[in-house]
């Protein structure tokens, strides 16, 4: 780890001021990802600005009936918040599917959005990686790519976004509140993370010097018909091969609204309006779900070691939507897929 100057920010304006104009500075909150990357010399900030004392730890109902989550709310505090458990159980379940309790006790909401890929080549500074060193090449495309993307990848990068929480937030159509040198703005969740394209070094559309202050959930929480199903190499504490957040609104057996978001398959939580349109107005049956899966995976592409993910994703979509339709979400402590 290289030497750095450690600063403490006292409030949001102070944090923005301390960050302004310094591209080698980093905010630190939970530290669970940044410190790991600093130890590996993947991240080499020369200034680290501690934002843990900023007043961003509140979970509040909004006037519009939604929920505003401060950027520093820890993952466990969010998953266990009574309003989240009651109104957004999909989000609670997704959070509890990720990492370990120790890490969830440390990790912040804003930091979860900003965590970086767990691609082994990104972590290994001895290998080329366009995300870490733009223009150096992608080692994963012809390398060990079992964990990598099947949707939305590019010739420059096939890394995946590792978050579970973000998959649920993408489905719930959260809004990211940020502030920075140019003032406050909001970013729809779908526009927050980027596909790799030819600039895989940019994970998000956060501008230089901006800081996340909150994530806002709209009122609709799909608390009746939802599931978060995560398939991984071991039963807990592993990144997703494929995960799915599924939510339905039903009128009898007919789907009036269906949403799907996939994790572990792309550079960002993956949603597909055409696949969701294939659910609307149709009966909540495996045949309907299989059609939606076909639409969502129509452009899926596997690489040498991860082509299995395409069929795995297809089955996850059908199983997840079946769970959602039946109102039998997959509890994270139950390892038999229901």
């Amino acid at each position: 780890m290289i030497n750095f100057q450690y600063m403490r920010a006292t409030d949001v304006a102070d944090a923005v001021r301390q960050m302004a104009g310094d591209r080698n500075a980093k905010f630190i909150a939970g530290g669970t990802n940044l410190i790991d990357l600093m130890k590996m010399d993947v991240e080499q900030p020369t200034r680290v600005i501690d934002i843990t004392r900023l007043p961003l730890r509140q979970v509040e109902q909004t006037a519009g009936g939604g929920l505003r989550i401060g950027a520093l709310v820890r993952n466990t505090d969010l998953a266990y918040h009574p309003l989240v458990e009651a109104r957004y159980p999909l989000l609670a379940s997704a959070i509890m599917a990720g990492a370990s309790q120790q890490l969830r006790n440390m990790a912040s909401t804003g930091g979860n959005l900003l965590q970086r890929t767990r691609c082994a080549y990104f972590y290994d500074t001895a290998t080329p990686c366009n995300k870490r060193t733009p223009g150096s090449g992608c080692s994963a495309i012809d390398g060990l790519n079992r964990m990598h993307a099947i949707l939305g990848a590019s010739a420059a990068c096939i890394a995946t976004h590792p978050s579970d929480m973000c998959v649920a937030m993408a489905l719930l159509e959260a809004t990211v509140h940020v502030t920075g040198p140019a003032g406050d703005r909001t970013i729809p969740f779908a526009d927050f993370h980027r596909l790799p394209g030819d600039t895989p070094q940019r994970d998000t559309n956060l501008a230089a010097g901006e800081i996340i202050t909150a994530v806002e959930l709209p009122p609709q929480g799909f608390a009746t018909h939802y599931t978060y199903l995560k398939i991984r190499d071991r039963l807990s504490y592993a990144f997703a091969l494929v995960s799915i957040a599924a939510a339905l609104a039903l009128d009898g057996d007919t789907i009036t609204q269906g949403r799907l978001a996939l994790g572990g398959v792309a550079h960002k939580p993956w949603r597909d309006p055409e696949a969701e349109a294939a659910l609307r107005g149709h009966p909540a049956t495996p045949a309907t779900f299989a059609r939606a899966a076909d639409v969502l995976l129509r452009n899926a592409r596997g690489y040498k070691h991860n082509s299995f993910k395409i069929e795995l994703a297809r089955r996850c979509i059908v199983r997840g939507l079946t769970q959602a339709a039946h109102g039998t979400p997959q509890p994270q402590s139950v390892k038999k897929i229901v």
Binding site: M1, N3, F4, Q5, Y6, I28, G31, T32, I35, D36, K39, V48, D50, T52, T76, Y80, A99, S100, Q101, Q102, L103, N105, M106, L235, S236, Y237, Q332, S333, V334, K335
Partner: protein, 202 residues
């Protein structure tokens, strides 16, 4: 406060159970990479030291630290609290688990200077007035370890789990203890020990 690892000496060979019963204050006859290398790198390029006050197992420490110092390295290399173990140093194994303000965390992924004002409990702080913590006794009762290297982290993690009050069943204990890896595979006995300790408390 011992500044330079004035580790307690041991004249006899401790048994595994004695180590657990004593809260693992006996120093390991092995060195792990990281500490010494980090010290020499720091000497080549002097960092700007940062002050922080931490309360560790009830004792206040006024510290001035290289900001790169993790809580884990502070405990082991600066304060001779070697009960907390360094396994992966990447937040993947849980051996370094301690309690910060009552919550279990990975001390390897925490900069110590960020914890100004915090209360830290390590495995050395679980026993009170010479009496084992119910979890320590339960681990002995159930032989919930083989090599014992993961045990301090398992104990602190389980103490955090009990404080959370979320786990009610063995399946829930397993899920909420998944951040603690035991390469000996003592999981069945670890779950039984935690279950026993939870039952005693309720």
């Amino acid at each position: 406060m011992p500044e330079n690892g004035a580790a307690p000496s041991s004249s006899s060979h401790p048994t595994r159970r004695a180590v657990v019963a004593a809260g693992a204050v006996v120093p390991l006859a092995m060195s792990l990479p990281g500490g010494a290398a980090a010290e020499s790198a720091a000497a080549a390029s002097p960092p700007t030291p940062v002050s922080a006050n931490l309360t560790i197992n009830g004792t206040q420490h006024a510290l001035t630290l290289d900001p790169r110092t993790t809580l884990l390295d502070l405990l082991r290399e600066h304060l001779a609290l070697t009960g907390t173990k360094k396994g992966c140093d990447q937040g993947q194994c849980g051996a370094c688990t301690v309690l910060i303000d009552g919550r279990r965390v990975n001390s390897c992924l925490t900069f110590a200077v960020m914890l100004d004002g915090a209360q830290i409990t390590t495995v050395e702080g679980l026993a009170k007035n010479g009496a084992l913590h119910p979890l320590q006794q339960a681990f002995i009762d159930h032989d919930a370890f083989q090599c014992g290297y993961c045990t301090p982290g398992q104990l602190c993690s389980a103490a955090g789990l009990m404080a959370e009050g979320r786990a009610k069943t063995p399946d829930e204990i397993r899920e909420l203890m998944s951040g603690n890896i035991c390469r000996c595979g003592a999981y069945a006995n670890i779950v039984a020990a935690i279950d026993q300790a939870m039952g005693q408390r309720s």
